[in-house]
Symmetry: C2
Subunit: 483 residues, 2 copies
C-alpha cells in the first residue's frame, strides 16, 4: 500500500466534496434558510482537512491496484461521513448515525431514508440530499467504467472486454477522455429531464431535484408521498422513461450517438433488461388490475413506474405498492436483487451477471449430457473466459452471503419478515424503499442503531461492488510491500 | 438414452416399492384397520406394473450416465406417485394432489404435511407414511454414495475423492459392498434409537415411527403436536442426538467403527456442521430465554432440539418455534438453506458446499491482493480441482434460482411473506415445517393446487440434487444416441 498516495487522493476527494457543496450553499442563501451556516461550517472543515492531505509529498507516485481499492472504499465512507455533517449541523437530522445513514444513502444512490417527514426540511438541505445522488451517480460511472476494470474485477471487466460499446481501451485511450464522454452523456440526460419535467408542470427546483434522483438512480423525493404527490401522468411517464434509460449501460448511448442505434437492441444485456422490465410490468398490471386500479391503463401506468423504479434501483413511488398483492410484491423484491445494467448508475447484482449465471447453468447441464463436447459461454458473440465466469459466480455468492449476514443483524430488531428481508435487499442493492415498515410510505427511522450502521455500510458495500470493502478486512491488504 | 434398460430398472424399482409396502399391510392387518385393502390394491397394482416392465429384454445392457439420471428422476416421481395410492385408496387423503404431496414429502424425507389432523389416521397408513422416510433415507444414501459419484456431480464427487472416509473406490471396490456397509450402519442406528426411545417410555409403534422419521431425517410425526406431544425430556434428548448423528456423513461412522475416532473431529465438514449447530443453539437459547422459557436449561433443550431438527432437515418440533422472536426464526430459516452433511440422509445445500463457497470467496479476495500468487482451495488437506469448485458455485446458483422460481409461484396464493418464503425453503431443502401458516403447528393444506404440485416437485428436485430433474427438460437428453 502506498499510504502517502492514498492519503493524498483522499484529500483531493474531500476538496471535491467541499466544492460540490457550494451549489447547496447558494440554494440555502437564495431561500434564506436556517441551513446556511451548516454548509459554511462543513465546507470549511472538509476543505481544510482535504487541503492538509495535499501537503503530503509522496516519494513514489505509482498507484497499485490495492491503493485504488483502498481509495474507493475509504473514500466512499469518508465522503458519506462529511456529507452527513450539513444534516447534523442544521439540526435536520440530529443523530449522527441517522445523518450518516441518510448521506450514505444519498452518495450510494440508494434513497433509503430515516426521515419521517421530508417536507419540513430547509431548501438547501433538501437540495444537498438529492444532489448527493447526482454526484454519487457520477462517481459510480467513473468507478465502473474506469477504475474497476484497470484493477480487474468480474463483470465490469466483461463490459470492458466484451461489450460492443465504446471500449475505453480502444476508442479513447485516455481514462480522462472516457470519463468526459460519460459525463457528457450524463449531463445531457440531466438537462433533458429537467426541461421535460418543467414542461410537464414542475417548478425548476422540484424538476432539478427529481432529476438528480432519477439519473443517479437514487430516489430521494422531496414529498412524503414521493412522486405520487404530484399525481401528474406526464411526470410519471417522464420519470419512468428516464429511470429506464439510466438503468441501461451508458456505453450503449455513446454508440447510439455515433449512429449505431441497432447496437442498442443487439446488446444481450439490454435485451434481458428490457425483457425483464416488460414481463414484470405485464404480470403486475394483471395482478393489481381491478382490485387496486379501475382501468387497465392506470394499472399499467403504476406498474410501469414501480417496475422501472425498483429494477433500476431508483426507488421513487407513485403509490403504496406495499399494499399490492403478494405476487406483485414478490416480483418487486426479486427485481431488487437483479438491478440495472453494468455501466449504468444502477446497483444490485446487474443483468449481465444474471445473464451469464443462466448461461453457466445451461452449460453445466449440457456438459453432463455430452461430457466430451466443449462448451464456451458467450456474451454478445464473444467467448467469456473461465476466470471471469468463476468471478461472477463468486460475486453472486458473496452478494447472497452478505445479504444473509445483514438480515441476521436486522432480525434482532424483531420486525416482521417482510420488513427484515426487504430492508436489507433494498439497501445492499441501493434501491431505497422496501416492503412492510420500510415500504414506500414508511421509512428506516424505527430501526435500531446497530441496524442503521450495518445497512449504511451495506449500501456502500453494494455500491462499490463488494470487493473493496471486504479487502479492508484482510490484514495483508494493509502491508506496505506490493507483491 | 437406453430406453429399454431405463424402463426395466424403473420396473424393478416398482417391485421393490410393492415389497416395501408389505410391513405396512401387516401393521394394518394387525390393528384390524380399514386401510388393509388400500395396501392390497396398491401392492397388486404396483407389483403387476413393475413385473410388466421386467418382460422387456434389452439388447444393450449398458447403462450410461444419462440413463442413471433418468432412472433417478423418473424413479423418484413414480415411487412418490404409487406411494400416494394407499393414502388415496384408504380415503385418508382423498385428493390425489394432496396424496402425491404427502408421499413425495415422505420419500424425499421432507416431512411437510397437508394433514390438519394426523391422529385420526389408521395405524397402517401412519406406519406407511413414516416408513417412506426410512426407505427414502436409504435411497438417498445409495444415490449420494454410489450413483451420483459415478456420473460425476459436484460436491458428491468431492466426498468420494477428498473425504477421509471410506472411499468407495478404494476401500470396497464394489458398489454393492459399499451399499451394504452403509445400510448396515443405517440399520444399527435405527435399532439403537428404537430401543432407546422405548427405554424412555415410548410404545414400540411410536418409537419405531419416530425413529423412521429421525434416521431418514424426515420428520413426519404421529401426533398433532409432533414430538412435543410426549413432553418427555429423555425423548427430546434422544431424538436431538440421533437427528444430529444422521445429519453427518455416514462414511465417518464407518471410520469410527474401524477405530479412527479422531477422524470424525478432523473432518472439516463435520467441524463446520458441529460449529454451526453449537453457535445456533447458543444464540437461540439466549434469544428465547426469559420470555419463552423460564429456565435457561429449558431454553437450551428446546433450542437444541429445534436447531438439530432444522439443520438436519428433519423437521420435528417440541414447541411452536413460529412464535419465537424474529432473530431465532431467521437463524432457523438460514439453517433450512444450509442443511446437513454430504453422505447423510439430510437435504438442502449441505455443509461441504457452504465450506467450499467460503474458501472460494476468500481465495478470490487473496488473488486481488496478490495477483501473481497461486492459490488452491483445499478440503481436508487435499486440493479441490477447479471444475469441482465451479460446479459447486453453479449448484448454489441453481438452488437459489429454483428457490426464487418456486417462491414466485407460491406468492400467487397471497399468503404473508414468512409463509411464502419459508414454505419453499422448507420443501426444496427437505425440511418439513416452515414459518407462518406452514409452521410447526400449521400445515400445507391451505396452499393452492398449483403450489402443492410445485412444492412436491421442489422436494424431489432438492432431494436428488437438482441436476437429474433439470436434465429431463433438455430435449437432447432424450436422444437415443449416446455421445
Amino acid at each position: 500500500m502506498n499510504y502517502a498516495m492514498v492519503l493524498k487522493n483522499l484529500g483531493i476527494l474531500l476538496i471535491c466534496e467541499a466544492i460540490a457543496m457550494v451549489p447547496s450553499l447558494i440554494v440555502a442563501i437564495g431561500y434564506r434558510g436556517n441551513d446556511v451556516m451548516s454548509f459554511v461550517y462543513t465546507i470549511a472543515l472538509t476543505g481544510i482537512l482535504g487541503s492538509l492531505a495535499l501537503l503530503i509529498k509522496p516519494k513514489n507516485k505509482k498507484l497499485y491496484a490495492r491503493d485504488g481499492f483502498a481509495i474507493t472504499a475509504i473514500g466512499w465512507i469518508l465522503i458519506s461521513f462529511f456529507g452527513a455533517l450539513p444534516f447534523a449541523f442544521s439540526g435536520s437530522i440530529p443523530s449522527l448515525v441517522d445523518a450518516f445513514f441518510e448521506a450514505s444513502s444519498g452518495f450510494t444512490t440508494t434513497g433509503s431514508s430515516i426521515l419521517r417527514d421530508v417536507e419540513i426540511l430547509p431548501y438547501g438541505i433538501l437540495f444537498w440530499r438529492s444532489f448527493t445522488h447526482w454526484i454519487g451517480g457520477m462517481g459510480v460511472l467513473v468507478l465502473t467504467m474506469a477504475i474497476l476494470p484497470t484493477i480487474g474485477i468480474g463483470s465490469v471487466q466483461i463490459m470492458k472486454a466484451e461489450s460492443p460499446g465504446p471500449d475505453p481501451g480502444k476508442l479513447v485511450p485516455k481514462l480522462r477522455q472516457t470519463a468526459k464522454i460519460l459525463y457528457g452523456i450524463y449531463i445531457v440526460i440531466t438537462i433533458m429531464q429537467i426541461i421535460l419535467l418543467m414542461l410537464a408542470g414542475m417548478p425548476l427546483y422540484d424538476a432539478a431535484l427529481h432529476t438528480f434522483g432519477t439519473v443517479g438512480t437514487g430516489g430521494f423525493g422531496i414529498k412524503n408521498l414521493s412522486v405520487g404527490a404530484y399525481n401528474n401522468v406526464a411526470v410519471d411517464i417522464i420519470i419512468t422513461l428516464f429511470m429506464f434509460i439510466c438503468g441501461a449501460n451508458f456505453a450503449l448511448y455513446y454508440q447510439v450517438i455515433k449512429g449505431n442505434i441497432r447496437g442498442l437492441f443487439k446488446d444481450e444485456e439490454f435485451r434481458l433488461y428490457g425483457s425483464i422490465v416488460l414481463v414484470s410490468i405485464l404480470l403486475i398490471s394483471f395482478n393489481i388490475n381491478g382490485t387496486f386500479f379501475k382501468s387497465f391503463w392506470e394499472s399499467l401506468r403504476h406498474a410501469a413506474f414501480q417496475v422501472s423504479s425498483i429494477i433500476t434501483t431508483t426507488g421513487y413511488s407513485t403509490t403504496d405498492f406495499n399494499l399490492w398483492p403478494g405476487f406483485s410484491k414478490t416480483i418487486l423484491l426479486l427485481l431488487m436483487f437483479i438491478g440495472g445494467c453494468a455501466g449504468s448508475t444502477a446497483g444490485a447484482i446487474k443483468n449481465v451477471r444474471i445473464l451469464l449465471l443462466f448461461k453457466i447453468m445451461k452449460r453445466d447441464l449440457m456438459r453432463i449430457i455430452h461430457p466430451r463436447a466443449v462448451y464456451t459461454v458467450k456474451f454478445n458473440g464473444k467467448a467469456v473466459n473461465e476466470k471471469t465466469l468463476s468471478e461472477i459466480l463468486t460475486y453472486f455468492c458473496m452478494y447472497m452471503f452478505l445479504y444473509v449476514l445483514a438480515v441476521l443483524v436486522v432480525s434482532l430488531d424483531g420486525f416482521d419478515m417482510a420488513t427484515t428481508i426487504s430492508s436489507v435487499a433494498a439497501t445492499l442493492g441501493n434501491i431505497g424503499p422496501g416492503l412492510g415498515l420500510v415500504g414506500p410510505m414508511g421509512n428506516y427511522a424505527d430501526l435500531s442503531v446497530l441496524s442503521k450502521i450495518v445497512l449504511s455500510f451495506g449500501m456502500i458495500i453494494g455500491r462499490i461492488e463488494i470487493y473493496p470493502i471486504l479487502l479492508l478486512l484482510i490484514p495483508t491488504f494493509w502491508s506496505k510491500a506490493n507483491v
